[in-house]
């Protein structure tokens, strides 16, 4: 049985990199969306309030 350790570590590392990377992407997208929504809300009220 050859040493397969690099493959096993690689598989688990890849899984975590992909999942955490997507998580970071999700939070960024969420923050941008909130900023855009805030801006739109401000624009829409147009200082009349």
């Amino acid at each position: 049985m050859p040493d397969n350790m690099p493959f096993i570590i690689g598989a688990f590392a890849l899984t975590w990199v992909v999942l955490l990377g997507y998580l970071v992407h999700l939070y960024r997208a969420r923050r941008d969306a909130e900023r855009r929504l805030q801006q739109a809300t401000d624009d829409l009220s147009g200082g009349i309030k």
Binding site: L14, L19, Y22, L26, L37, A40
Partner: protein, 244 residues
């Protein structure tokens, strides 16, 4: 137009993001715990040795990719039936996560295949049809990126998502006839009971991660849609007058 179907304001969204962060932390801790547990209790497999442990990430990714695509198909069908923007956004969120899990499944399959079969890639039925599935749903996401009008994007991507889902069994059958050398599908009955429990809890942990991703992306898309709708109202000259 899709204007006004999604009404959201910022403050509750911020609060939901904080809750979401906490849930996310919990979800990933759970995944880490199930993986640590499975690795610690599993003994080397008779044929595969420690390589068998890759199964704990590969198989859950594959199962959950199917769950994500199931959500795409159901949400697309519901959108065409009821015409609610929310269903379209749910389908899009699930397609994105599904494509991610498909890519991960393929990559993990390759990492497992190299030491087991001695090759990174083989043209067998499940591997090849998974790759086709990946391309069908990447096409779906590219279509969404290339269409700006929300109604048009929703109708079109619902149709493309449904046709794609319809094609999955046909692709699988055709590729299966074409060539088969993959081992029999991993199901609890062909597995050592030692591995069954580990596989199940890992699959559930990954499922929770996937559902968390979909929910989070879905909420973000609702915020984006609400912001777009507001910008459209501004562009049309509506500044919160009588008709607001």
């Amino acid at each position: 137009m899709g204007v006004g179907t999604v009404e959201l304001s910022v403050a509750p969204a911020r609060a939901r993001r904080s809750t979401g962060m906490l849930i996310g932390l919990g979800v990933f801790l759970l995944l880490a715990a199930t993986q640590a547990y499975s690795i610690s209790i599993s003994t080397p497999d008779r044929d595969m040795g420690h390589l068998q442990k890759i199964m704990y990430v590969h198989v859950p990714a594959a199962w959950n990719m199917m769950i994500a695509y199931f959500i795409v198909a159901i949400a697309s069908l519901r959108y065409l039936w009821k015409g609610r923007e929310k269903d379209d956004l749910l389908a899009a969120a699930a397609a994105e996560t599904g494509a991610l899990m498909t890519g991960l499944t393929l990559a993990l399959g390759m990492i497992w295949g190299k030491p087991t079969w001695g090759i990174w890639w083989t043209w067998d039925a499940r591997l090849t049809s998974t790759a086709v599935l990946f391309f069908i749903y990447v096409g779906y996401l590219i279509l969404r990126a290339f269409v700006d009008d929300p109604d048009r994007r929703a109708q079109w991507s619902a149709a493309v998502g449904l046709l794609g889902a319809l094609n999955v069994p046909i692709v699988y059958m055709s590729v299966r006839w074409w060539r088969t050398l993959h081992q029999v599908q991993s199901s609890p009955s062909t597995l050592d009971p030692n591995y069954t429990l580990s596989l199940r809890i890992n699959a559930i942990a990954v499922m929770i991660v996937v559902l968390f991703f979909i929910r989070h992306r879905y909420q973000t898309m609702q915020l984006e849609a609400a912001a777009d709708a507001m910008h459209e109202r501004i562009a049309l000259g509506d500044r919160g007058g009588i008709n607001a």
